[in-house]
Amino acid sequence: MSAETAAVTDHPTGLAGRFANWNVAIIAVTVLVIAVAAATVDNFGTSQNFGFLVLDLLPIALVALPMTLVIVTGEIDLSVASTLGLCSAVMGSLWNANQPIETIIPVCLLLGAVLGAVNGFFVTVLGLPSLAVTIGTLALYRGLAFVVLGDGAVADFPALYTNWVTGTIGGTPLPNVLIVIVALAVVFGVILHATPIGRAVFAVGASEQAARFAGVRPGRLKFWLYVVSGLVAGLAGVLWTLRYSSARADNGAGLELAVVAAVLLGGVSIFGGKGALPGVIAGVVLLASLQNALRLSDVSNEALNVVTGVLLIASVLAPNLANAVRGAVQRRRHRTDLL
C-alpha cells in the first residue's frame, strides 16, 4: 500500500515531530470548536447539555480506549459494536428469564471478554488478517444478538442501576458515568504511555519482528488486547442498555465506524506504531461536540456525516500534505545552496 512506502522514506525524527504536533493540533481544534460552539450555539454551554454530551460520547469513548491499543499494534477490531449489541441482547434475555441484575452484569462482561478472545484466537493463533476476521465476527455477533433476542426490546431494568447511569455526581452537572470514562482513560493512558506493556504495544506496531527479537511476544500481547477490547465493548453494552433502559439486538449498530474515525482523528496511524491517548480522547470529544453543536443548530444528522467523513480524511491527509510541502521547500533550498 502506498503509505507503507511513505513510512519507509519518512525521516524518523520527522515522524516523531509530526505526531507531537498532531496531538497538540487536535486538542487545540477541539478546544476551539467547543469555544465557538459555546459562544454561537444556543444551549450548547448549558450544564444540562454538557451532561447529554458526556452520555452521548460514553460508548465511543469507552470502546476507543482499547481500540487505540489494538490499532497501535497494527491490527483492527471492527466487531466491537456487534459485541456491544450481543451483550445487550444477552442482558435482555437473562433479565427476561428473571435473573438478578447482579449476576447478569458480570456474565455480560465475561461474555464480552470471551467474544474478544474469539477474535484474538483467529488473529493470533491462526494468524488470519484482523480486518477480515473482525468483519466476520461483526456479522456473526450481530446475527447471534438477533438470534438471542429477536427484534424486540427488553425494558424495565432496575431503577437503581438506570438512575445511576443517567444520574449526576452530587449537585454537579457531571454525570456519574464520567467517573467510569475518566478512570478507564487514566488506566489505559498509563498502560500505553508509562509501562513496559505500552512500549511493547508500540514496538509490535512499529515492527513485529524487531519486537519479537527484543523479547516481546506479539501473539500473546495481541490476544489479550482483543480480550480487553471485547470486555470494554461488553461494559459499553451494559451501560448502553442501562442508559436507555432498553436491551435491543441492534444497540450500537454502526458504532465501529465512529470509533475507528475518532481514533484515527486522534492521530493514531492505521499502520500501527504511532498514536497517543490524549489525541484520541480529543478526537472523541471533537466528534461528539461537533455532532452535539450541529444538532442543536438544527443541522441534520445526515449533514453531520459529511463533516465526520471530511474530518476523517483531512486528519490523515493534512500531515501528509504538510510533509510533502516541507519536503519540496527543503529540496528547493538545497538546490539553491548548491548553485
Partner: protein, 341 residues
C-alpha cells in the same frame, strides 16, 4: 488467477492449479449442497419465481463484488460502495423522473459516471494523498451518504414517478433471463477476462502481491490504483441503476450497509484481503452463495435472524480455509524450489 506471483512454475502448475481452484470449487460444492437440501425439504425453492428472485438479488451484489474484487486484488479496500450505490440510484431516479423520455442506456451510463467520479476521488486520495484506502473509503462512506441525504432530504422517488420504460427494463427478460442478470454477467465476463488476459489486469495482481516490487518493475502504480477505484466506483454506480430498476422505490438510504455484504462476498469468494490473489469469478460465486443462503433460510422457515450469523461464520470459515490452502501452496513451492536449486 492461478499463476499469480508464481513465475517460473508455469510449465508444471497443474497440481498447483488444482489446489488453487479448490477454493472456488469449495463454494460451488457448498452452493450445490445448500440448493439440494433446500429443494428436497421444500420444492417451492426451485420455482421460477424463487430462482428469479435469487438471480436478481445476486446480479446487484455480484456487480458490486466484481468491483470490490478489483480493488482488493491491489491490496486496497473500498468501503464506500454502499453509499455510492445510494447516490447513483438517487441521481438516476431524479434524472428519469424529470426526463421520462431518457433511454435506459443513458441511465446506466449516468449511474456509472456518478460512481466513477466517486471512485476517482477515492483513488486519487489513496494514491496521491498517501492515505490508506481503509481511511479514505471509511470517510467517503460518510461523505457520500451525507450528500445523498442532504440532497434528498426526506423525499423518496416512487415507482409511479419513474418512466414505465425503465421499470420494464427492470422486469424484462431475454429468453427467460432477466436483463439485470445479463448485465451482471457481461460485467463479470469482461472484468474477468481483462484481469486474466490483459496487461493492465495482470499489473493489478502484481501490485497486490508486492507494491514495492511492482513500482520497481515499472508498473504505473499510481494510475493503476486510480483505475481500480474508478472501476469499483463505476460498478457501484451501475449497481445503483440496477437497484433503482429492480425496486422502483429509491430513498437516500438505498444500499446502506451493503459494504459489509460486498466485502463478505469477496472474502467468501476467495479473494485474499492482503491482495495479489483471487478472481472475480470467485467474488461473483460468493455473491450467489450469500444471496442463496438468504432465500434458503426463508424457504426452510429458519429464523431470518440466523442469516447474518451464518454470513459471519462463512467469512471466518473462508479465510481459515484460504490460510490452509496458502500454507499448502507455500509448502509445494518450497519443495519445487529445492528441486531447481
Amino acid at each position: 488467477m492461478t499463476a499469480v506471483g508464481l513465475p517460473g512454475v508455469s510449465t508444471r502448475r497443474s497440481s498447483l492449479d488444482l489446489v488453487l481452484r479448490a477454493r472456488e470449487l469449495g463454494i460451488v460444492l457448498a452452493l450445490a449442497l445448500l440448493v439440494a437440501v433446500t429443494a428436497i425439504s421444500n420444492p417451492r425453492f426451485l420455482s421460477a419465481q424463487s430462482i428469479r428472485d435469487i438471480l436478481l438479488g445476486t446480479a446487484i451484489l455480484a456487480v458490486l463484488a466484481v468491483g470490490q474484487a478489483v480493488v482488493v486484488i491491489t491490496r486496497n479496500i473500498d468501503l464506500s460502495v454502499g453509499s455510492v450505490l445510494g447516490l447513483s440510484a438517487f441521481t438516476v431516479g431524479t434524472l428519469l423522473r424529470d426526463n421520462p423520455g431518457l433511454p435506459v442506456v443513458v441511465a446506466l451510463l449516468a449511474g456509472a459516471a456518478v460512481g466513477g467520479a466517486c471512485g476517482t476521488v477515492n483513488g486519487v486520495l489513496v494514491r496521491y494523498g498517501n492515505v490508506p484506502a481503509l481511511v479514505v473509503t471509511l470517510g467517503t462512506l460518510y461523505v457520500v451518504r451525507g450528500i445523498t441525504y442532504f440532497w434528498a432530504g426526506g423525499q423518496q422517488i416512487n415507482a409511479d414517478e419513474l418512466p414505465s420504460g425503465f421499470l420494464d427494463f427492470g422486469n424484462a427478460t431475454l429468453l427467460g433471463v432477466p436483463f439485470l442478470v445479463l448485465i451482471a454477467v457481461v460485467v463479470l465476463v469482461v472484468t474477468g477476462l481483462v484481469l486474466r488476459n490483459y496487461r493492465a489486469g495482470r499489473e493489478l495482481y502484481a501490485m497486490g502481491s508486492s507494491p514495492q516490487a511492482a513500482e520497481l518493475a515499472g508498473i504505473p502504480v499510481g494510475r493503476r490504483t486510480v483505475l481500480a477505484f474508478l472501476v469499483s466506483g463505476a460498478l457501484a454506480g451501475l449497481a445503483g441503476v440496477l437497484f433503482a430498476a429492480r425496486f422502483g422505490t429509491i430513498d437516500a438510504a438505498a444500499g446502506t450497509g451493503y459494504e459489509l455484504n460486498v466485502v463478505a462476498a469477496v472474502v467468501v469468494g476467495g479473494v485474499a484481503v492482503f491482495g495479489g490473489s483471487g478472481s472475480v469469478w470467485g467474488a461473483a460465486l460468493g455473491a450467489l452463495l450469500l444471496t442463496t443462503i438468504g432465500s434458503a433460510l426463508a424457504v426452510l422457515e429458519i429464523n431470518q435472524f440466523w442469516q447474518q450469523a451464518i454470513v459471519g461464520g462463512l467469512i471466518l470459515l473462508a479465510i481459515g480455509a484460504d490460510r490452509l490452502v496458502a500454507a499448502r501452496v507455500a509448502a509445494t513451492l518450497k519443495k519445487r524450489g529445492s528441486h531447481v536449486s
